[in-house]
Amino acid sequence: MDILSLLWDGFAVAALPINLVLIVAGCFAGTLIGALPGLGPVNGVAILIPLTFAFGLDATSSMILLSAVYYGCMYGGRISAILLNIPGDEPAIMTTLDGYPMARKGQAADALAISGVASFIGATLATIGLTLFAPMLAKAAIYFGPADYFALYVMAFATIGGISGSDPRKTLLAALLGLMLGTVGLDPSTGVARYTFGSFNLYDGFDPIVALVGLFALSEILFFLEEKAHGGGLVPPGRVFPRLTRVKEGIGASLRGSVIGFIAGILPGAGASLGAVMSYSFEKRLSDKGTFGDGDPRGVAAPEAGNNAASGGALIPMLTLGVPGSGTTAVMLAMLISLNIQPGPLLFERSPDLVWGLVAALYLANFVLLILNLPLIGLFTRVLGLPAWGLMPLVVAISYLGVYAITHAAFDLLVMVGFGILGFVLRKLDFSLVPVVLGLLLGMDMENNLRRALSISGGDFTILLQSPIANVIYLLTAGFLVLSLWLSRRGSAIPSRLETPGD
């Protein structure tokens, strides 16, 4: 087959010693960058670009390095999410929902192994999808218009009510709070400033990653201080080695999550966070027996597979159309241009070495990440064994550094502290923080697409219902809601479920 021979040539490129070294180095650096709160793939990739110039790497080697970092970050984001309840990057927020409860039960090693394997499955399936169907999928993705993206975000928000264990009304309220915070800043379609109170620092609104670090990391520290005052303790390190049986429990969820995440990744307007949210909500509806949110392995596997598959999927519009599916791919595209490679529809024809070398490198990177991550589990879980007087200040320091490294603005440190206090108060009131971040993160894109659709129609709202794709999505959403209503009614008939009403 043609693709196979191209891929074989690709492996010949990827297996050059220099490229192998870059893959391993990139995976390792990416895992670390992903695990540090605040620093995510966008920064990781941007930091490394000057290095690729300094070493005089060619375009293919540079792309291999950056992609390895990108994949590595997606693996790494989950580590702090599981161990400390602090997501390393945006897509990892969903992993806190079940990953951290597992760690609290002393199953940190299991959770890390499950998420590592799930990441591997998600990324590998996405890479296979990329190999076989890239040009075809890209052609389909261009028919997704603003009204269809809007429908997709409606679907995501419709399923948010069920994602966290607490009262669904509080979940919706938290999502609403996030949506409101998302309206701060310049209105992208007209440039009018909203709720900025004349401060230029608020012109770009609240950066989701800054909000995320504040809400999760700082509120966690505040909580710890309070618990410590009352004699509480840290998460127990538990077993050092994962159990294979637990890992197996996540395989099915990983496969389902991969498919959903991959689809979200291909659509340039969706992305890894949406992929993780959808994978988690779907899995919860499908398999929840009251254990989700309480440390269910499937609740760790689904979103991890989802966000890794989405990252692989996002490379499709990048390589076939030159359209960035995420901030990270935008940086990678910019680097290609500066290396005299013109991204766009002709990239596959003109630079087959680069494209197929990259694809082959992704397969290798996945194996490297799996091999790198599993033995490191023991090391990671030992982090929990560190004394709190050392660990907690370190988390604070890393949070401040990470946020400052992104924006170079002291103002954002204040924003982070503000979000930390907000997070503490919300958690005291038994609100889940995940919907707040999702509201902020997805709300902006949802609004942009709504505004675009209305610009096209000249303000006529019926455009939202005119696209067949959007209608299919609305039907799926309705079906999903009816199904969950039915399931919860059936569930509430069981006596033991009465303890958690409205779940």
């Binding site: 941007a46 993705a141 012109y203 359209v323 901030g327 991204p343 550094l401």
Partner: protein, 321 residues
């Protein structure tokens, strides 16, 4: 051995990144997130400045996104007005913002160093669109301004939008405010949405959508330059079709208003040397820029003049009062 050395260098760079060592010689602020045009300007020029030996060591690129450049402008005006080691990337887009009063200050607050090249505006439709020529397009818009949905990478009132409206005005379209405008996050997302049939036309920089011109997925109705451009000599200019409209998006730099004449002149000289180098000419062309030089006082005057023009246009088409 080499690997070990590069490892050390990597560690050094990483540490420098984390702790932002103040001893760095030259710094370029890109007032946007990584990946955009201003980021590209900083990274490319920074890379070439050190490759050509014009600055010592690397040029540190700092991303300072916010308010289409307003945050960086405020930061430089307030805290680093006399920092002689600083470059800030900007373009016609930035001047448009200043002219519309969206920055905390006017063009006279900064010292404008030089422009090194310019991207050229294009008006394009999908290859299967039934709009064949610029005359055809303007005829339709004249008859019914809502008949073609237009789009680009700036918001309403941004440079992509203004360029299109200037052309529409030259074509005799009267109800300019009725033309529908959709903002996307860049030229290539706008083009793919056009290929999917969501919008009818894209107005943006040629450099952003060069790949689609080469692949033949889009039909360019007009490029907004004085002369046909060197990379695509076959694309018709608006001028050659009887519409006196040009729409360049130059790329250049400013520095703080308090920078000494010595530092200012030294930067202008370095940038001129860079501009004349073969490496820049090649890099610029490869990324779809026409190399054009304006530097020093000449550039300062040019910016002031463009600022005035832009304010007039914005008033004329109703973007500002």
């Amino acid at each position: 051995m080499i690997l070990k050395l590069s490892g050390l260098r990597a560690a050094g760079l990483g540490a420098a990144m984390l702790f932002a060592v103040p001893a760095m010689a030259a710094e370029c602020i890109a007032p946007a997130d990584p990946g955009g045009g201003w980021d590209f300007t900083c990274r490319e020029v920074g890379r070439l400045l050190s490759a050509e030996g014009l600055v010592e060591g690397n040029v540190q690129v700092t991303n300072m996104p916010g308010g289409v450049g307003a945050v960086a402008f405020a930061n430089v005006a307030g805290k680093r007005a006399d920092d002689g080691d600083l470059l800030v990337a900007t373009s016609t887009v930035g001047i448009t913002q200043i002219a519309q009063g969206k920055y905390p200050g006017g063009v006279d607050q900064m010292r404008w160093l030089a422009m090194l090249g310019a991207d050229v505006g294009v008006i394009a439709v999908a290859k299967d669109s039934d709009i064949q020529t610029l005359d055809d397009l303007l005829g339709r818009l004249k008859a019914d301004p809502t008949s073609v949905v237009t789009s680009g990478s700036s918001g309403a009132g941004g440079w992509d939008h203004i360029r299109l409206l200037l052309l529409a005005e030259a074509g005799g379209v009267e109800a300019l405010e009725q033309i529908r405008w959709v903002q996307f996050d860049g030229g290539s997302p706008a083009v793919t949405q056009m290929m999917g049939g969501q919008v009818g036309l894209v107005s943006t920089d040629l450099g952003e959508i060069k790949g689609f011109v080469e692949s033949g997925d889009i039909r360019v109705l007009a490029v907004l330059s004085d002369e046909p451009i060197s990379a695509f000599p076959d694309l018709p200019t608006a001028k050659s079709q009887g519409y006196e409209v040009t729409g360049y998006n130059w790329r250049g730099f400013y520095t703080g208003g308090g920078v000494s004449d010595d530092d200012y002149n030294a930067w202008v000289e370095k940038l001129k040397t860079l501009y004349d180098s073969a490496a820049w000419q090649e890099t610029a062309r490869a990324s779809g820029l026409e190399p054009i030089w304006r530097g020093g006082d000449e550039f300062n005057d040019y910016v002031a003049e463009q600022n005035e023009q832009m304010a007039n246009i914005s008033r004329e088409i109703g973007v500002i009062q």
